[in-house]
């Protein structure tokens, strides 16, 4: 039953969504609305469970003085401190917002900004004229790169037009193929899960 029951739930929920999507009278039964509300409820429960779980795991770590236990202290302090502050002052409260705007936001944006550095080294390493396919990729990348910024048009007036052509024609054609393949593949995977052919999510592996 440990595996059969979750599989049964998966199939029933999937069928409810699929049938509601296509059949007028089933749609009007409002199953989707009910499922949506359940889903919201589960989100809320999951957050509560997560908090309890984190407290238990890190509480034990602190009690045992496990390696790096001081990180657990910081984690619990921030979790409860910031959470309680938010409950008291709301997320728009001065102190809550100040911490968010001046600590979290810059740190998050900084890490995202690191991508600019990484993409430069990745481009430098990867874009080489090794094969003719790699050469085509290199040329397309350089045209798009310079054409996406005003500098391309400052160098040559038609640079932006060439970029637009690449994006509108070859890119759109290729992207459509990839997207179609992805959706068909994704649906086949979902079907395998629904039919119980793929059970890895239940802890089974299969294969050799």
């Amino acid at each position: 039953m440990r595996k059969e029951f979750p599989m049964l739930l998966t199939v029933v929920a999937a069928l409810a969504v699929i049938l509601s999507q296509f059949f007028f009278h089933i749609y009007n039964l409002g199953w989707l609305d009910v499922l949506d509300k359940w889903s919201n409820l589960m989100w809320a429960i999951a957050i509560g469970l997560g908090v309890i779980n984190l407290t238990l795991i890190h509480g034990k770590k602190i009690m045992r003085r496990a390696p790096g236990y001081y990180n657990s202290i910081v984690l619990l302090l921030v979790l409860y401190g910031y959470g309680i502050l938010g409950l008291i002052t709301t997320t728009e409260g001065f102190h809550h917002k100040w911490i968010f705007d001046n600590i979290f936001a810059p740190m998050d944006a900084t890490l995202y900004g690191i991508i600019a550095f990484f993409i430069t080294t990745a481009a430098y390493r990867a874009f080489k004229v090794r094969t003719w396919e790699a050469t085509v990729m290199l040329l397309a990348a350089m045209i798009i790169l310079l054409g996406s910024a005003p500098i391309g048009e400052a160098i040559w007036g038609y640079w932006g037009d060439v970029r637009s052509w690449i994006l509108n024609i070859p890119n759109t054609a290729g992207m459509r193929g990839i997207i179609l393949g992805i959706y068909l593949g994704g649906f086949a995977t979902a079907l395998r899960v629904m039919l119980g052919l793929e059970r890895a999510y239940l802890g089974g592996v299969g294969g050799r």
């Binding site: 068909l184 079907l191 793929e198």
Partner: protein, 268 residues
């Protein structure tokens, strides 16, 4: 809910969803037929060679030779994301190989639900490989629900543990390049797989092997070599041929200015 003035199409269907319903039926029928053929032992086409999947054993083997761990991340997708569902099967394969080769597997997570499932997948894989004693739950780690906090944490782990193989298989966003470049500096063999089209170029630029889009969905069938699973991939490819035929038909009709009836059918 639908508005009161809406009327069902053909008496039973939600307006606009008639064609998608029949498309779904045809798709399911194709997959079903191929599964039945496979079960009956009839010949079905094989899946072409996918270098990225062939390289997985090589990457784990290399990590084993070097005595360094393998890192596996399913990305940021939730447990309900189809890419994450595909990732569970791949993780099972990777974990089984790691168990067989006695190589340490570091598995990092951003989603609590996904982590719980991954734990089960890995535990089961070690059990199937006959190495339940080698299973170490402490190597399956939860980092943060925040995208870049997770990325920073994984990059820190790279520096400490120096994995020799880096397998990224699932739904990735902006953290993909951070992981892939971080792995490249370590000299790790890197395999990236995602159906998030905006991240595929980053994997192509920074990884040794990239599985583009649908290739990742075929992974479980490809690796397990199970005819029934292969049948679903063949059914999917037949559906693709149908879509291709529809595109050709639409293009021809558009050129002669006769697309109205086709659009009418498809949007009914």
């Amino acid at each position: 809910m639908l508005l009161a003035q809406d009327a069902p199409a053909l008496g039973v269907f939600v307006p606009g969803n008639v064609a998608p319903f029949f498309a779904l039926l045809v798709f399911c029928a194709l997959v079903y037929i191929m599964i039945q053929r496979a079960r009956a032992g009839q010949r079905i086409p094989e899946i072409r060679k996918i270098p990225g999947l062939e390289a997985i054993d090589e990457a784990i083997g290399r990590a084993t030779e070097m005595g360094r761990p393998v890192h596996y991340t399913p990305g940021l997708g939730e447990a309900t994301n189809v890419q994450t569902l595909a990732s569970f099967a791949m993780l099972g394969h990777v974990a089984k190989r790691c168990a067989q080769y006695d190589t340490r597997l570091l598995q990092t997570n951003v989603e609590a639900f996904v982590m719980a499932i991954n734990q089960e997948v890995i535990r089961q894989a070690y059990l199937e490989a006959g190495r339940p004693d080698a299973f170490n739950p402490d190597d399956i780690t939860y980092h943060s629900p925040e995208q870049f906090a997770y990325a920073a944490s994984v990059l820190g782990m790279y520096e400490r543990e120096r994995p020799a193989a880096n397998i990224m298989f699932g739904a990735f966003w902006a953290e993909s390049l951070l992981f892939a470049e971080g792995g490249a500096y370590l000299g790790a063999i890197q395999i990236g797989a995602t159906a998030n089209t905006h991240q595929i170029p980053f994997f192509v630029a920074a990884c040794d092997y990239t599985l583009i889009g649908e290739e990742m969905y075929a992974a479980s069938a490809y690796l397990s070599k199970e005819p029934v699973l292969t049948g679903t991939v063949v059914g999917q490819d037949l559906a693709r041929i149908g879509v291709f035929a529809l595109i050709i038909l639409g293009t021809v009709l558009a050129h002669v200015g006769e697309t109205n009836w086709l659009t009418g059918i498809l949007t009914k």
